[in-house]
Symmetry: C2
């Protein structure tokens, strides 16, 4: 029963415009906290939508997925080429999980999904450009998924609570 019961309860699917309200409920606290992404903490909803689920993406490689748990959107992931031209075989992904849905394996589930999608789209590897060094939970999760730290840009993030910290570049082959 386990796998199929979980399959019924939790799924990852492509985001649709009607998911925006649910995504913003997850995204807004992350924006305001300013602890994990290099976003302006004052970013308004319109700019946030352009950032995460644009109606007409400038980046034509962009795909957005949501994790749905018991009918509720509990997380979301973006997938796109990290660079263009002769660098477009490396994917990039960004993740958001609802604050009240932590510890349920949602980020890992989204990561598994997005790596499968990325392989299917022909990407050869995946890179994260700016993982906040003090975000130990995220770093540990990515390491457990075989991402390695390629390098750390010193002092590149002003954590509002912890002060200046580094930004990791993390990478794995797909």
């Amino acid at each position: 029963m386990g796998a199929s019961a979980e399959g019924l309860m939790r799924s990852v699917r492509t985001a649709v415009p009607g998911d925006w309200a649910a995504i913003w409920r997850i995204m807004e606290p992350v924006v305001r906290a300013g602890e994990t992404y290099c976003w302006d903490p004052g970013m308004d909803q319109k700019a946030a939508r352009s950032e995460w689920l644009p109606e007409a993406p400038l980046d034509t490689t962009l795909c957005v997925y949501v994790a749905v748990d018991d009918g509720v959107v509990v997380g979301t992931v973006q997938l796109h080429a990290n660079r263009g031209g002769n660098g477009n075989h490396v994917a990039n992904a960004s993740f958001l999980v609802a604050g009240d849905a932590g510890g349920k394996g949602i980020a890992r589930h989204l990561a598994d999904h997005v790596m499968t999608e990325a392989r299917g789209q022909g990407y050869e590897s995946m890179q994260f450009n700016a993982v906040v060094q003090t975000n130990e939970r995220a770093v540990a999760l990515w390491r457990s998924l075989e991402f390695e730290v390629i390098g750390t840009v010193p002092g590149a993030f002003r954590h509002p609570v912890q002060g200046p910290t580094g930004l990791h570049i993390m990478f794995r082959r797909l």
Copy 2:
């Protein structure tokens, strides 16, 4: 006489819309070659202009400068925040030098200028996100200007002649 004669001959100033034709003459061969930037080698002039000298930049931190030698635009540099929000104290810069103006110290001149501008704008450091590993001349120049390689993303660039190579992340404090 040396310094003032050079001062008369070569200067760096803010780019104006009328510089676009000259910039495109420098940029187009770089785009088509696809050896040093992660740009689509088929990029048309309109997309290139949006990339380098947009009329209405989405990124409000963007500044573009040109190097002028004897009245001719021989190089150009972009300066902008590498990230937003709590990462916006790190600058990013991108350089283009005319193919027939190599070996004249123009890239170094542009780099000196852009680092001075960046300091003046309050940036604390400068990061390059994707220096092609086989572009030894560029890597040597940045090293000579005290940039260090923070890490190298393996195989992240498909050099059209040399095959798969890495992309360096380079960094220095300002």
